[in-house]
């Protein structure tokens, strides 16, 4: 029950299969890293989990604590407790970070109930402080003109404010400088708990030096072809993906 479970997921776009019988189970309390060459379907997986409508789901299930979220609207999936930190966060002109997160929080309350503004700002500022974000940012339009690293930091701020059950982070490390990588990782580690599961998509070991994964998966051609502990990531870092591809080729031959 306390898992995010992806079962036999087949997804295509424009008739081209991208996810192929994909299986993955993330129990609460664990951090799973997902690695793999460019274009193997990692972001596709993340977006399908979040309810993106561009993709055709051929078959499969995604169970969030036992409840199938596949086919639900993106906002329902969000309310069910799934958060996606995007690889490429969108800019929303004219909407301040503070108002945006507030609207997202408000959307979780029952009809007629309002956010306590004082408490909200207190919490927002505290979380910004811990991510070393300048408080002036709250007034800026969401992601508009943000540097790559600022966008990623802002994703993690939203993640911290919305307290999801499952966090999917798509290449959050890309664009972060060395200090930011540490700060953001600390923020994520702070959120780690028995009540929460993580799927961390990344290309580099350097993130996993900070956010130490319980399980590492290697994805290739639309499915997971190899899983292991944190040592697997280090192995990939030194050896690259060729051996995975070879192994895959001989297995499917």
């Amino acid at each position: 029950m306390n898992t995010l479970e992806i079962k036999n997921l087949n997804v295509s776009i424009d008739g081209q299969a991208i996810l192929k019988d994909f299986n993955l189970t993330i129990p609460k309390g664990e951090v799973h890293a997902l690695m793999g060459p460019n274009g193997t379907g990692k972001s596709t997986l993340a977006k399908v989990m979040a309810g993106h409508e561009d993709y055709t789901v051929e078959s499969g299930e995604i169970l969030l604590d036992g409840e199938n979220i596949l086919g639900k609207e993106a906002d329902e999936i969000s309310h069910a407790g799934l958060f996606l930190a995007f690889q490429y966060p969108m800019e929303i002109p004219g909407v301040s970070i503070a108002n945006f997160i507030r609207a997202a929080r408000q959307a979780r309350l029952p009809e007629g109930e309002d956010i306590n503004a004082v408490e909200y700002y207190k919490e927002l500022y505290a979380k910004m402080d811990s991510l070393k974000m300048d408080r002036k940012f709250t007034a800026r339009s969401l992601n508009e003109g943000f540097s790559g690293g600022e966008k990623k930091r802002c994703e993690i701020l939203q993640m911290a404010m919305l307290e999801p059950k499952y966090c999917v982070m798509d290449e959050t490390d890309s664009g972060l400088d060395i200090d930011a990588l540490r700060i953001v990782s600390e923020g994520v580690n702070h959120m780690r708990s028995e009540e929460r599961g993580f799927l961390v998509i990344t290309h580099y070991q350097r993130l996993l030096d900070y956010i130490i994964p319980d399980v590492v998966h290697v994805m290739y051609d639309g499915r997971i072809v190899h899983s292991g502990d944190k040592e697997l990531a280090k192995e990939l870092e030194s050896k690259g993906y060729d051996w995975v591809k070879e192994e895959f080729a001989s297995a499917s031959a």
Binding site: D75, P89, E91, G94, V95
Partner: protein, 472 residues
């Protein structure tokens, strides 16, 4: 949800708050269609001076002669059936000074629209017009003592001709366009306001225009005169129930700001999607004076409205800030006109339009700066936001500037709310409607800061309602 679903549902929506009507019960009814008799009837019911009847009859002639502006404007205008419209409907009441004296159905109407409550909260005076005539009109007593006049058009012309007659029909001549002529022939209701020298109103005066009857044409006429150094903010709101048949609203609004006076005129229009809204609005600014139009157009079938300022005196300032939202089946054809007639005059136009689904927005601007003038400035910014791919937007800026001592700055942009932006916001838990509404609010955000608080709250509420509705 597919795009067509979205659009189908968008057609259902509009001004739910205003979408109700009471059974008709009128003492005076000019019947259907427009001819000399109709005009004479209106004038007689109002007990007008002969010069007013003359003015009306001449206007009727001009109206009949002028062609529809379909050469450049929306051909949907052809669908107005002038012979099927009712031009005057009233219960024969004099405007009550207390809500208690307003007939029950009318009072309930305005209560449902929240007018008495707003009056208590932040207004210096209110006039509430129901079809052709005002049912309620009241201004704070201290303003009366200061000599402020706030009455309907009939009362204004009858009681204070020495004040109003010299400016009546002068800022907007009858022949300005076909609809100003129509209004001049059939006008009824509206506000006539005079603010004496040096009097500065701290709170706004408000008028609320309500159409209740089907097939009806509302032709209110407003004239506001701010004497030297006077200051006034005037706000108008409008709604109508959603009928199957077309309704016509064609107002004329003239503003006169004498030396160093300031007039701010705010409109939040939320007409239902059967209303043709064809309004002529123009202000005249004398030396050092300022005229500012804040114009928000939501709803209606077709709106044609280009508020203007004639910058007549040295150092006069004119401003038009407008927001137009065109949903499915609607066309917002709006813009601004700035006529610089003296040195050192400045004008500013900021127009933001939002087109949703099949909705269409058009911006028409005209800035006129003759070459003998010095030191004149105009800034024009028009931004369009498109939601869903079918929406369309056109911009027709016409800037006639000559002379080297003047500056004109023009910026235009078109942006879209992309499906990816909506997905991003929905991933954070916002519904599709909330997400669109937030994007729209973001788009108009900067401009809304220029509005009085109460009005930006109301506008935000209307946008939320419209966007919620457009996804069902």
């Amino acid at each position: 949800m597919s795009d067509t679903d979205l659009q189908d549902q968008a057609i259902q929506v509009d001004t739910e708050k205003g979408n109700f009507s009471y059974p008709e019960d009128y003492e005076f009814d000019a019947g259907v269609g427009l001819n000399e008799e109709t005009v004479k009837y209106i004038s007689k019911v109002k007990n007008e001076d002969p010069w007013v009847l003359d003015f009306r009859l001449k206007a009727l002639e001009i109206f009949n002669k002028k062609p529809m502006p379909t050469k450049w404007a929306d051909t949907d205008l052809e669908n107005i059936e002038f012979e099927k419209i009712r031009y005057y409907l009233s219960k024969g009441q004099v405007p009550a000074r207390s809500w208690d004296d307003v007939p029950d159905d009318v009072k309930e109407t305005f209560e449902r629209l929240g007018i008495p409550e707003q009056e208590r909260k932040f207004l210096a005076g209110v006039e509430a017009q129901f079809d052709s005539e005002a049912s309620y009109s009241r201004m704070k007593e201290d303003l009366e003592k200061e000599g402020v006049i706030f009455v309907g058009s009939t009362e204004g012309l009858a009681k204070y001709p020495e004040i109003f007659k010299p400016y009546f029909g002068k800022v907007i001549p009858t022949s300005d366009n076909k609809f100003s002529a129509l209004n001049s022939a059939t006008f009824s209701g509206g506000s006539f306001i005079y603010v004496p020298k040096g009097v500065k109103l701290k709170q706004p005066l408000q008028a609320y225009f309500r159409i209740n009857a089907e097939n009806f044409g509302q032709f209110e006429r407003t004239l506001i005169i701010a004497d030297e150094g006077a200051e006034i903010t005037y706000m108008e709101g409008c709604t109508a129930p959603k009928f199957e048949t077309a309704t016509l609203h064609s107002a004329v609004v003239e503003l006169v700001a004498l030396k160093n006076a300031k007039i701010q005129y705010i409109t939040v229009q939320n007409w239902s999607s059967n209303v043709f809204n064809l309004v002529t609005k123009r202000g005249m600014a004398d030396e050092g004076a300022e005229v500012k139009w804040i114009d928000c157009n939501i709803g209606s079938r077709l709106t044609m409205k280009y508020p203007g300022v004639v910058l007549k005196g040295q150092g006069a300032r004119g401003e038009v800030l407008s927001i137009a939202l065109a949903n499915d089946g609607q066309h917002q054809d709006t813009g601004a006109k700035m006529m610089h007639l003296a040195d050192n005059t400045t004008s500013n136009i900021i127009s933001k339009s939002i087109s949703i689904g099949e909705g269409r927005s058009t911006y028409r601007g005209q800035v006129h700066m003759p070459k003998h003038l010095k030191n004149c400035k105009n800034n024009t910014e028009c931004d369009a936001l498109l939601i869903n791919t079918n929406s369309r937007t056109d911009t027709y800026p016409a800037i006639t500037t000559r002379g080297q001592n003047n500056t004109v700055q023009h910026e235009a942009s078109v942006s879209k709310v992309s499906a990816e932006q909506i997905f991003y916001m929905m991933q954070r838990g916002l519904s599709e409607g909330e997400a669109m509404s937030l994007a729209v609010n973001g788009f108009v955000n900067e401009l809304m800061k220029a509005f009085p608080m109460e009005y930006s709250v109301e506008l935000k509420r209307l946008i939320d309602m419209e966007m919620e509705g457009s996804v069902g």
